[in-house]
Symmetry: C2
Subunit: 323 residues, 2 copies
Amino acid sequence: MTSVATLLAPVEEDLKTLNHNLRQLIGARHPILGAAAEHLFQVGGKQLRPAVVLLIARATMTDGEITARHRRLAEITEMIHTASLVHDDVLDESETRRGIPTVHSSFNNRIAVLAGDFLFAQSSWYLANLDNLEVVKLLSKVIMDLAEGEIQQGLSRFDSELTFEAYLEKSYCKTASLLANSGKAAGILSGIARDRADQLFEYGRHLGLAFQIVDDILDFTESSETLGKPAASDLRSGHLTAPALYALEEQPALETLIAREFAEENDLERALAIVHETRGIERSRDLARHHAEIARQNLAHLEPSESKDALDGLVDYVLRRCN
Amino acid sequence: MTSVATLLAPVEEDLKTLNHNLRQLIGARHPILGAAAEHLFQVGGKQLRPAVVLLIARATMTDGEITARHRRLAEITEMIHTASLVHDDVLDESETRRGIPTVHSSFNNRIAVLAGDFLFAQSSWYLANLDNLEVVKLLSKVIMDLAEGEIQQGLSRFDSELTFEAYLEKSYCKTASLLANSGKAAGILSGIARDRADQLFEYGRHLGLAFQIVDDILDFTESSETLGKPAASDLRSGHLTAPALYALEEQPALETLIAREFAEENDLERALAIVHETRGIERSRDLARHHAEIARQNLAHLEPSESKDALDGLVDYVLRRCN
């Protein structure tokens, strides 16, 4: 088993530089946001998104050396992701993320809205200054998709009519769009051909979908301690994900519990039991594997390199999380 | 006295189209935001910002006919402005704006954050699709300035050391940047020369500063009914504007009241009395006139037209509000 740290070795130094730059950017200029920034980047986790950008950058440059614009793109990617997390936590009224109190609960809504707006604004500004209209379009689309995904999620709570297609579309908007578009943008900054850039888009899209499906499985299979947030919080909040949607196909009884929003005693426990009794989780794992496989196929055009191997290894890493 | 409606006659039809498009954009696609959108555009007021864009567009096109990209720019301008208002109301916890309850008080913080994010996201996307990198940069700078202005405002509450320079910088960020950059962008979309585009920037900048200074005067001179929000709310919240800053120069006693955040009985009343006893309001009017005059001078390069007259008339209109 390869650890994430080992996997990301080709861009370990790049990620350190990125972290340093991001802290400078927010903390140094604005003390009011400084504490929130420290907090944010502490929670940051594995920085999968900028890592993918940096790995694609290295895998697509013929000399393996990345440019300042690639680095800036990776920073923009992390800023957009962080901004969306901060606002999502306000929207969802989440108290913790990865076991650490959220910005809006540690500070207040005011600082959380402000910090998110500042990060979105800064990313738009950096983006425009990459001086590449195609890259601007790709990343603007991500910002649109994130807002769209959040709206879709709000609209579909406790809606047992939610189609699988709509679930995947929402997962694309909220998770995969950023990986797909920023990965493609990294290739474009390296000057690769259009069809190869499109394959990088597909890699990011399917890796992102696999990642989200695995996350949705873990919400059912892991404890609160491991998750760093209350277990089964998706279902509890009415967010129907792959395991619940498959379970609904097998056990229509689940529909009644969802429709009344688990209002009666033991409703949630009964619903969870139904999901575990059906093939919901097993079929979700198959779905994640399916997307992981397509992600992997879209790396075939890359020349052999340490960074290509890491991109391939990330696919396994995502799947391993739920096995 | 010319009414605003008469002044804006050259773009009256354009503004109707803009309103229709903006309502379509939000309401039709997202019922959850539909009610909030209706609400927003009801409050919208005189739509000074898109009107300036449309007037500049008409004044700079040789045939007086504007393009689809000019219209889109005007929509983007109004979307950015509206998004910032919605988030500002969350940040300031304002209950009303122009006498109408704010989105976050009529609905909730969740919808307000979501509606603002959606509008910012949509404007980034439209912006990228104008296919003009210079215009993208100008408007991204506006989004940065709005966030920066909001942060500066938060940092400087009840700070009697606030310099006049910092006050004008904050006013530029929060109000003038949008008029300056979108006005210049309208000229660029018309294909005018760089030095003329820069003059349009200066027109917008000084018109915006005059507008903000007048707004700051009105907060001291008008009743709650006329303002549609509590009177003297700037000073009450610790936002020191031109009249208070001039008064501080003449009457250092005001400093003590501000430093203790009007904590003792009648502190706010005493502070207001001091502002009215000094030449604070008179000097603020002079300052607004000064910026209005510079705005006017920067229209000299435009060929005579109905739209140019309207841009000139807007300068008078802004000043008339506080006379």
